[in-house]
Amino acid sequence: MALAPELLPGTLELLILKAVSLGPKHGYRILLRIQELSRGALTITQGALYPALYRLEEQDLLASEWGTSENNRRAKYYRLTKAGERRLRQETEDWNRLANGVGLVLDARPEKA
């Protein structure tokens, strides 16, 4: 874990949107899901998850309601709003284009003389 790369700024939000799009879940579950999907390749400072969640909620990309956790405690479940779905689609596209572009550049071979 210590060797896993730091996230690019703004990526955490994208990951949260994706994780939540797979089904409503509370904060800890979102973290577990991201780690599970990335097969442990990404480092997330656990506490940083929450300010990110609030920012997304503040922008109306996530909605939340209170429910009960698996250990019977009060837990806040997040789900994606319509605006969140749109944002996720758009950001995914942007990300793919960016990753593609960066990948293409980095894959370049030495030019022939």
């Binding site: 904060g27 800890y28 656990q46 506490g47 940083a48 300010p51 956790s69 250990n71």
Partner: protein, 885 residues
């Protein structure tokens, strides 16, 4: 803010900071616990698992802070940024900003000023704790409402089974007060023991009158802040000092704060003593009327409590002949003060104030549409800036929000200017009120009461909605991107239709206001034109009363000649006379059943009696139309005589002469027959709308026992200078004669038409404001369109158009808008006139002449307003215009 949900969350976060913090803590705690459990399952010891979980979470405190910021500040941040941006853009367009702020300032100012009056007169609750609960007993006697009952009725109702706790306060009476060097008549209220505790007014010093004072008949008095200042120089040792009321010593036990002004509407508080002293201080049982008070919150409870009171009232206090009539008592809301006869002008002013409120709302509407038009024009010129921002990805809402922030800033500045203007205008108005209305002055005096501030804020907010939202939405419409391709010149035709519609509405609304003001001004003129039946200039009145003095047993008549002689000797006094009732000044309206000898008695008819001295009618310059005036020879020894007014003659002697006719007046000296020896011109006593009532003048020497007469003097050009001299002479003549209310007729006469004058003046101001604003709007729009069409005008002129036809081209547009406005406004003005009907006199609310005149004037002014732009259009140089882009 982007959505209602966000707004809710924002408000929630502001209100309920603690709940949100707790929710956040719960979430983080749960996270750590779940993680610790997971670590434990992976084989760590519980202690160690917990430690690791906390460590891996990172700084809890830091993330709490960040979380809080994410929640609350984003919205606020945006607002601050929008406002900053708004300030910058407004500063870049100073002319636009000043024009808008002034427009809004005038509109909002007029609204705040009139609302201040409306609130002060119609809405303001009494300055007591929980005024909403205050309830007063009201007697409905065959449709007439009375707020007072005899003291003995109160006692009966108080003990009625099922009655709520009732307290009473005697209608204040003027009682001779002596302390130190003071010797004057002051208002004294008589209160039941529980009155002060029911009202809940706390004293600044000492204590209030309580039940034990009433029970033990303690001669105690509670004085006002004002008396404390005047009699005792605000000394802390005032408690325990004594003052004499009608010669009886009373001990001061408390001082009330300045804010306490009793429980009556527009009332004032001077001092109070226990009710048990009423008789000692000269209030006979039959004159002992009280206001009955209770504290009941809910209207339903008031109705419920009224039932047993009404039943008891019918058992104890309703005369046999009234039992079948519609006579009831009920408990009614008194939170704004008990209605109180003469000083209660609320009903008189209700319609006037609400009409004015409607008028200023229309003025604000005009101001808003001016600003809206300016914003539309600005939106057009800023189209390129906005479309660039839209096309580089700014969200539409973001830009709308910024534009609205600009509007909100304008409204805020407008509100500030408006409140300042309102304060100045109200001060002006108060200084124009007659001096005698000093308590009313305190009602309308402008101060920044919370409700007025709230009203100003709401008005500003409403203005933003009216003038801001439309232009903001329009400027950011998605097809505004087209503007990028435009060369910034021509606006889309449909937006010009909106501009024109706004101006048409302005003209229509202005017509309504001008017509309304015209009706009120015509009413004032018509009322002024009515002959009052006397010459009101340079008259001074002083009330001379014997009640509560050494002269009381014999009344005023035996000494009235000496008083007249005394007044005659004062330099500057030309004529003198005395009467029981004087027009505009007041006095007492006494009427008796009567019959003209030789004619059938009219059932229930009564005739007003005014007792006058010889020379009174000469003093007022009321013409004697037939017969003679009273002379000194009309004494109790001579023939009983009377002078009728024209109304009396019209009723009883439509043909033939009334002179020599005999009239039997029941109740005058126990029933008397008088002979009519003269006919006097009708005099309008107060309100000039009501036709004069039949009246008989009776000479004072034959009138029997009267407690007072009003001395009236016609003076040289300086009545004010005569007043104190006469007062002084009278006081030295009879030290303990009661002298009251020296007043000039000029002041009193002003007061008679006060409501009409205020209504006419305020409505005219309103109409003038509307006219100026609407013409600025119309002129501005025409000017703008000339500026935009410079090229087109140039082409026309190059093609040979005459200057005249160019001027006509411009004027035609203005004329069309003005005419359309007049056509729409005409019916509205007629409707408004009808709503004002009860205020009008001598003019029909549908007066075609007035409406036509106003419409013609409006169209004329509209032409004038567009004359300057038309002139500019005519001077367009085709060569220059065609070269311009």
């Amino acid at each position: 803010m982007r959505s209602p949900r966000q707004l809710l969350r924002f408000i929630h976060a502001r209100i309920d900071r603690r709940t949100l913090d707790r929710d956040m803590d719960d979430e983080m705690k749960l996270h750590i616990e779940l993680h610790a459990e997971a670590l434990e399952r992976a084989g760590l010891a519980p202690e160690e698992a917990r430690r690791r979980a906390v460590a891996e979470f990172g700084g809890v405190q830091r993330y709490r802070e960040e979380g809080r910021d994410a929640r609350r500040l984003s919205w606020l941040h945006d607002v601050v940024a929008d406002l900053r941006y708004g300030v910058r853009t407004l500063r870049r367009a100073p002319l636009f900003t000043v024009a808008s702020v002034l427009s809004l300032g005038l509109g909002i100012g007029a609204n705040v000023a009139i609302f201040g009056l409306l609130y002060g007169v119609l809405m303001q609750p009494l300055a007591i704790p929980r005024p909403r609960e205050l309830t007063a007993l009201v007697v409905n006697y065959k449709g007439d409402l009375y707020s007072s009952v005899l003291h003995r009725t109160y006692l009966a109702l108080r003990d009625a089974p099922g009655a709520p706790r009732l307290e009473a306060v005697h209608e204040a009476d003027d009682i001779l007060t002596e302390v130190a060097d003071f010797h004057e008549y002051s208002r004294v209220e008589f209160v039941e023991g529980g009155f002060f505790s029911l009202v809940g007014a706390a004293p600044t010093l000492g204590h209030v009158i309580g039940p034990e004072d009433e029970a033990r008949r303690n001669p105690v008095v509670v004085i006002s802040d004002n008396l404390w200042t005047r009699y005792f120089a605000r000394g802390r040792d005032v408690l325990g000092k004594q003052l004499l009321l009608r010669g009886h010593a009373f001990t001061v036990v408390g001082v009330m704060p300045r804010s306490f002004q009793g429980v009556r509407f527009n009332g004032s508080f001077t001092m109070a003593v226990p009710a048990s002293f009423a008789e000692l201080l000269g209030i006979s049982e039959t004159r002992n009327y009280v206001n009955v008070l209770a504290r009941i919150d809910a209207p339903a409870l008031r109705a419920a409590f009224s039932v047993p009171l009404d039943a008891t009232y019918h058992r104890c206090c309703v005369a046999a002949e009234d039992t079948r009539g519609d006579v009831h008592v009920s408990l009614e809301d008194a939170s704004r003060g008990i209605a109180h006869g003469k000083t209660d002008f609320r009903d008189d002013y209700r319609l006037v104030l609400w009409s004015l409120m409607g008028g200023v709302a229309l003025v604000l509407l005009i101001a808003c549409s001016n600003v809206g038009n300016l914003l539309l024009a600005r939106g057009a010129t800023r189209a390129r800036e906005l479309s660039i921002r839209l096309s580089i990805g700014a969200s539409r809402w973001r830009i709308v929000r910024q534009l609205l922030a600009e509007s909100a800033l304008l409204a805020l500045l407008g509100a500030v200017v408006g409140v300042l203007l309102a304060a100045a205008a109200t001060r002006l108005l108060v200084s124009a009120l007659p001096p005698r209305l000093d308590t009313a002055t305190s009602l309308v005096e402008f101060d920044l009461k919370l409700p007025i501030m709230v009203f100003a804020a709401l008005t500003a907010l409403g203005s933003v909605l009216i003038f801001g939202v439309g232009p903001a939405l329009r400027a950011t419409r998605s097809d505004a991107v087209i503007a990028l391709r435009d060369r910034g010149g021509e606006r889309r035709p449909e937006s010009r239709i909106v501009d024109r519609l706004l101006v048409v509405v302005q003209v229509a609304v202005t017509l309504v206001l001008v017509c309304g003001a015209g009706l009120l001004v015509a009413t004032l003129r018509n009322l002024r034109a009515i002959d009052p039946g006397f010459v009101p200039t340079h008259l001074v009145a002083i009330e001379v009363e014997t009640r509560g003095t050494a002269f009381e047993p014999a009344g005023i008549v035996p000494v009235h000649r000496e008083i007249l002689d005394l007044a005659r000797t004062v330099p500057g006094v030309l004529d003198v006379g005395m009467a029981t009732r004087i027009p505009a000044i007041g006095g007492r309206d006494v009427s008796f059943p009567y019959a003209v000898v030789g004619q059938r008695r009219r059932e229930g008819a009564e005739v007003s009696i005014t007792v006058v001295t010889p020379g009174y009618l000469a003093t007022t310059r009321t013409p004697i139309l037939a017969g003679r005036d009273f002379v000194d020879a009309d004494t109790p020894a001579g023939e009983r005589v009377a002078i009728a007014n024209e109304a009396f003659v019209r009723r009883h002697f439509p043909v033939g002469s009334p002179l020599g006719a005999n009239v039997r007046i029941d109740g005058l000296n126990g029933g008397e027959v008088v002979t009519i020896v003269g006919v006097a011109r009708d005099v309008r006593l107060g309100d000039r709308r009501s036709p004069p009532e039949p009246m008989l003048h009776i000479p004072a020497a034959q009138a029997g026992k009267w407690p007072f007469l009003i001395l009236l003097m016609r003076t040289g050009p300086n009545p004010e200078r005569v007043m104190p001299v006469v007062t002084h002479a009278l006081e030295s003549y009879a030290h303990r004669l009661r002298i009251g209310g020296p007043q000039t007729m000029d002041d009193a006469f002003d007061e008679v038409l006060l409501r009409e004058r205020l209504a006419a003046a305020l409505a005219s101001t309103c109409a003038a404001l509307a006219l100026v604003l609407a013409m600025v709007g119309l002129g501005g729009l025409v000017g703008f369109s000339v500026a935009r069409r410079t090229r087109e005008i140039g082409v026309r002129m190059a093609l040979g158009a005459q200057r005249v036809s160019v001027v006509w081209l411009v004027l035609r547009g203005a004329l069309a808008m003005a005419m359309a406005g007049v056509l729409i406004g005409g019916p509205l003005a007629l409707g408004a006139g009808r709503a004002l009907q009860s205020l009008l006199y001598g003019i029909a609310p549908t007066s075609v002449i007035l409406l036509g005149g106003a419409a013609a004037a409006l169209v004329g002014v509209a032409m004038l307003a567009s004359a300057a732009p038309a002139w500019r259009a005519a001077r367009v140089d085709p060569v220059v215009a065609l070269r311009s882009d």
